[in-house]
Amino acid sequence: MNSNIIWLVFTPLIGSAIAAILYRVKFLDRLVTFSTFAITLLLLFSVHVGQSYTFNLNFMGKIIPLSWNVTHLSIFMLYISVAFGTLLTFYSLMDKSRMKGFLLLLILAANNWIFTTNDMVGFFFAWELMGWASIVSVLGGRDENSSRHAALYYAMMSIAGSYSMFFGVFTLWKLTGSLSISTNVAYLSSIVGMHPWWVLGIVSLFFVTFMIKAGIFPFHTWVPMAYAYAPDTFTPFLSGVMSKYGIYGMLLFLPISLMEKGMPAAFGLPWVNYIFMWIGVTTAVVGTVLAFFQDDVKKLFAYSSFSNLGYIVAAISLFSSVGVTAGIYHAFNHLLFKGALFITLAAVISRTGTSKMSEMGGLWRKMPVTFFTFFIGIASAAGIPPFNGFGSKWLIYQAMIKQHLPFATVMLFLASTGAFMYLFKAFHSVFLGQRSARYDNVKEVPVVGQIVEYLLMFAMIFFGVQPGYILKPIGAIVSSMGLKPLPTMANGYVTGMFSNVYVPLISWSLAISFTVGFILFFISAKHKYVSQSDNYTAGQIPEEWNLTPETYQFSWKFYEPIEGIFAPFFRIKIDGFFRGLANWTAATSSAIKEIFVSNAQIYAFFAVAGLIIFVIAGWVA
């Protein structure tokens, strides 16, 4: 049989064992990690759509078939995740952060397992493996206390999620007697007309898990903490790849909604989808608004990730051909540009030793390659053509408009404009503006890092200009889900419902106009370069005011005016809900604890009282 699928899981596990043995020597650990990622990438070439493998596990006399099945979606996700992981691990070869390679390899094993498995037991196991490995990975951040706190928070959410899924798996098992995901999805689809609430209940058990892992509102509260305090080299993986597991899970269960004839519709959508779409939109907007006011650059991009996943959720919840295409496409794009952004941030943080934006600034002269990667990254994230973020955002709008959802679209547009704002804030505060004197000796990342950055830049531009290379596999995925794929055109086209965009044309147009612009720039009068401190200061000499570059840099309370606008919304704290739950639990805990700090008599009294209550209950019954 096609046992090479199994090797996708075993190779990283073996690599992980080797790396764990070598983990004291950081370089070797990283080297093994990188090689394993590369080998897995090579292994992927032997995996094709339609391959499957089954292994019968004997548990308590019951045969549990662990089955693997490669679908279009899984192969797509595998390629993008493993390829990105390879780049990331290559970057991490020269990195100083405390990321542990063997944990990353465990996650890779889980990654490959999740994307290929077709049974819920395997899915659950892989999910747990992934969850725990990532929780432990988060622990190794720069600020130990914070990362411990974050990891605990993440662990709590993650455990709650896995219990929810646990419950769902067993419920489905009880209902169908089968553990195969496809069988169960088909079963749910078949009964959804009769028992919509049942199906909704069961599916939401899974969706809670997926939403927690993807960090969808209102389960997003762990995201900023975990992303911000994870090791800097691990955050790209956390944001780029791991948030997509939730999306993948949602995509597995979404086809059920096609059959929801028993449900009333809202705006041409089953209302469940409608609500879910609004959850996505809320995620996008809330993430954006919260991102404005962060000072920690990683936290800012964590909120940005959260916001982008809102886009994806909003798109796939429509479950139309454009919607799903746009969702998966955006998942890919988000992986690419957010991965690139977090990698550049890792580079910056490794060089400056801080992630506070108010302590950075003006690094672009010192780290030009990183600067340009970051620039292209934020251009992609802002959805500027011809970089890669454009196509998917554009398709998402189209999908929304096709469903006649103008308000949701407007909110997404707001999120997009807001995204531009916070991206620029990060861009300015990290790379532009005044450079503090203590960063005078900051150097560009090592060559290894630069290679990765060049590759990422190339990828962001290439997949922006030639979206067909991604859209064609997505078309296969979409048709495998029973939807009509978007018409395929030449590689450069982003095919939409309303109109097509030929991205190379934009790039040509840009190239020509930039040429013209630079010709104009160079034929006109000469300019001379001056130092950064040579600024207009209303005739004042900065030194006499004791103005240092740090104080002259504008990065604190960057968007203060709109803080007032959003102030009413800040009173609603989702984090506050979970914290409130935690506090309530703690308070209940201290109250209940009081039961047990009395004397023997009281305990005896409890026992007797309990007895009497039961006797009365027995009497009455």
């Binding site: 207009y536 200061t537 004042q540 000499i541 006499e544 005011w545 004791n546």
Partner: protein
């Protein structure tokens, strides 16, 4: 090439962007000059917010030593074809402050003044006239104050230093300001 120079000078003369360094009473004359009554925008002259954008530096009145320092700093931040207009007698000879210990008498010693507008106060008409005069000078290529400043920088610098050393940083440091507040 000289035609090109003439052409640029022609345009330069018709597009004076002005930074008005408003000290003393002379600033009072500028609002009427700018607004409906005299409307200096007719001649392409508009006020600018920063020295980077400006072509002419209009110094409207006496300069105490402290403000001289700012003026020099501002002038040096302006971009190359740039001209200084001295406005009123204060910039010429100190005016009523001729004997003050803390006011400079002749702006010419510290910055290359291209044109003085005499009077105390000069009327808006005089200001407009000065713009026309300066335009003529620019078109003829005679207003070369900025080149003079570069050429004779040591002399200007010596003059500036001689008076500026009388000033000491008297401002409070920012943290002291906040502390007292």
């Amino acid at each position: 090439m000289s035609e090109w120079k003439d052409l640029t000078n022609f345009f330069r003369g018709r597009s004076f962007w002005m930074l008005h360094y408003c000290t003393g009473c002379g600033a009072m004359e500028l609002p009427p000059t700018m607004t409906s009554r005299w409307d200096m925008e007719r001649f392409g002259v508009i006020p600018m917010a920063t020295p980077r954008q400006a072509d002419i530096l209009l110094v409207t009145g006496y300069l105490s030593l402290k403000s001289l320092k700012r003026l020099i700093y501002t002038y040096e931040q302006m971009h190359a074809p740039k001209w200084v207009l001295g406005f009123g007698s204060c910039t010429i000879n100190g005016g009523v402050y001729w004997d003050s210990y803390n006011v400079i008498e002749r702006l010419d010693k510290y910055l290359p003044v291209d044109l003085y507008i005499a009077g105390c106060m000069p009327r808006p008409e005089a200001i407009l006239d000065s713009f026309k005069k300066l335009r003529e000078l620019v078109e003829k290529g005679e207003a070369k104050g900025y080149e003079k400043y570069v050429k004779n920088y040591e002399w200007y610098k010596a003059n500036q230093d001689r008076v500026l050393k009388r000033t000491k940083p008297v401002l409070q440091k920012p943290e002291e300001v906040t502390r007292s507040a």
